[in-house]
């Protein structure tokens, strides 16, 4: 659906319902009586700007399974239910940490490239800054995102507290292959071990094919240097691949002939199958979408016009299509898309919807450029053992009651 047609349809609904606008019964002059802030000189310039104090309730959803003894282990999920557009503000980016956020001095940090290379190299942050860079918009999703949807009963939490272990930013950095070419990778090197400088030394093995394709040594996030919680001063970026492989606080890349089988890729981040075996190295994140507005725990304040809006993404490339249902999947309509020209990035989908006060079940279904379609919950569940909580990408359904309350349901 073209944007023009979408807006025409939306404005037709708005003109018919006009629920959000109040016709003025007073004169414009009366309506425009000055508010207090119009009568006083405003605040001075700031060196680095912050949010309005009225927005400070919008915060990340924090999960620390080991409690106060490990307040930096777990995850902080992005409040996607309160956000709009196709980018995540850096302050609300999701975080998955294994031993807290280290405070790294960029003047001391080094990146070492070694292993099966002709010339082992080390790079200071200053040295890296002189290299040729690329800028790309990509999502980052924890492979455990949506694990709270793998429960016997649907949890009643905000959309971000369930599906917000994801974010999307513009990343700027050096193609990894530029550094590997300088080091001279030996032909027998087929994998790269990436290791972080946190006290957990989080580390993963990455196939050389991905490294030479689109892997990036990221130094900047949304125009400025990386935030500490996203790996300051330098992280690995593997577009479309599960979040933990995008190693933060990157201290070394080691070229190896085989995977290293680190603790982080054997003790976890494997997918348990129905027959009891575990599938290892499921790198690419699946095609997925979620309606963020309206969503679970919200209440529609009145009948009338709404916009159904949400996020879609795929680790395989571009989103080609997002369909939206308001009747629990019986019928589907194509939503308008923003950002669908960007591979492995958030796409915002939108569909105007008039709520006439009845029950409704809202759902979204994404299709990517490879033609892969987001599975139903039943289809996803049949692939794995009940204990598996990684790589959940099933269709999400929200029920709207006659009282306007939006709840999470398994359709």
């Amino acid at each position: 659906m073209s944007r023009r047609r979408f807006l025409k349809q939306a404005s037709a609904v708005a003109g018919g319902a006009a629920a959000a606008a109040l016709a003025s019964t007073k004169s414009a002059a009366q309506e425009l009586a000055a508010e207090p802030w119009e009568k006083i000189y405003g605040a001075a310039f700031t060196a680095y700007g912050e949010r309005s104090r009225f927005e400070q309730p919008v915060i990340r959803h924090i999960f620390t399974p080991y409690g106060g003894i490990a307040p930096g282990s777990g995850a902080a999920l992005s409040p996607i239910e309160a956000l709009e557009g196709t980018l995540t503000p850096s302050g609300l980016h999701n975080i998955r940490n294994h031993s807290g956020t280290p405070e790294i001095d960029p003047a001391r940090h080094q990146l070492v490239v070694h292993g099966l290379v002709e010339r082992p190299l080390k790079f200071s942050i200053d040295a890296l800054s002189a290299y040729p860079m690329v800028s790309r918009i990509h999502f980052l999703e924890c492979s455990g995102n949506s694990s709270r949807a793998v429960t016997p009963k649907p949890a009643q939490v905000p959309a971000g507290a369930m599906h917000g272990n994801i974010a999307c930013s513009e990343w700027t950095g050096i193609p990894v292959r530029v550094l590997l070419e300088e080091a001279g990778v030996k032909p027998e090197a087929k994998w790269i071990l990436a290791e972080g400088a946190d006290s957990a030394h989080m580390s993963r093995s990455v196939p050389m094919e991905k490294i030479l394709d689109d892997a990036m040594i990221a130094l900047y996030q949304n125009g400025e240097r990386l935030r500490p919680e996203q790996g300051y001063p330098v992280r690995l970026l593997l577009p479309g691949w599960e979040g933990n492989m995008n190693v933060k606080w990157l201290r070394r890349l080691k070229a190896t002939a085989t995977p290293t089988y680190t603790k982080d890729e054997t003790s976890k981040y494997t997918d348990l199958l129905p027959d009891g075996r575990a599938m290892q190295f499921t790198f690419e994140m699946g095609v997925k979408s979620v309606i963020t507005k309206p969503s679970s725990t919200m209440t529609l304040p009145r009948q009338g016009l709404y916009e159904i809006s949400g996020l879609a993404w795929s680790g395989a490339g571009r989103i080609r299509r997002v369909e939206v249902s308001t009747d629990g999947g019986a019928t589907w309509r194509d939503a308008a898309l923003t950002g669908d020209e960007r591979p492995k990035a958030f796409v915002r989908f939108r569909l105007p919807w008039e709520w006439k006060g009845g029950e409704a079940v809202l759902a979204s279904r994404a299709t990517d450029e490879r033609g892969r379609v987001q599975p139903t919950r039943a289809e996803w569940t049949s692939q794995y053992a009940p204990a598996n909580t990684y790589h959940y990408n099933a269709i999400v359904t929200w029920a709207v009651g006659t009282d306007g309350k939006v709840t999470h349901v398994f359709a």
Copy 2:
């Protein structure tokens, strides 16, 4: 130049020079001796993330011409010399304020649509939030950006302190025409007066044609609600048009038959011509570019590989081409572009460059999709009276000395 060819060329230079990389003379194990932050458990999750303390010197360049008596009047320029990519972090967005930043309660703020309309309307922020939205990435440039370049001698200041009255963000909001259609604009209405809720009641007249084309009532900036310094809770966005017309803290839109000739479009924001007349209503910002790395006041630490990197934009639409010269304009080479698919948005250009220690004069020249080419300083100056400081978009030149020092020159 394709990205692949660009990277191949860059990596050939890197392989030859290797100036930024130090070959390890110790073993990898010695190089990898743990830093202090690798030995201690890191920081806990935060609800809303902030920058590293090591990045806190990166701040806006603040200009308050009336000093301490009006600390919120003037401008705060974005430190483009320290940024990368195609987006500006919200905390470092440029600001042009006429009477400080008001602190507005979104529960009280109203937007009134009145004048030559069938149905005067008012909208709360909650009501606006239900309307259909669009998300687009656009730059915002003050018409007075680069006014410090209009001096008899070239000022020696960082690039952002001269050319940083500009930023680029993703904006999400409602097409203005959706609200105007609901109000029912009368045929004789040809202009819209937009007025802010700051104590200056900053106001400008906007032709109806622009309003019906791509004007937006913006509620979100880079995924979250607008920052106060960019108009929280709601601003007008006129993609590609001079910044002050994108009225912040928007309180009313009034449909009128003619321009209102407000104080803000008569006492200022007009372009003084050589014959003494002033040109009014120069809305669209010109095609422009500036090299940010390396740039004025920086010093190249060593001979070898560098990437020349900078920003280009045009109020007329897409950037088609950016050429870079390292010999003061005698010869030009095409730079690689990122973001050139986005109209009226930042494009990042990049060109690998090997500095062999001699004198060089760096310059960039942008061309937009209408075929308009960024003028030389002499061409730009000949159009205006010497006192005019608006709409400066001439080619910017940085000289590199044999000592590596980068200075601003008029070439």
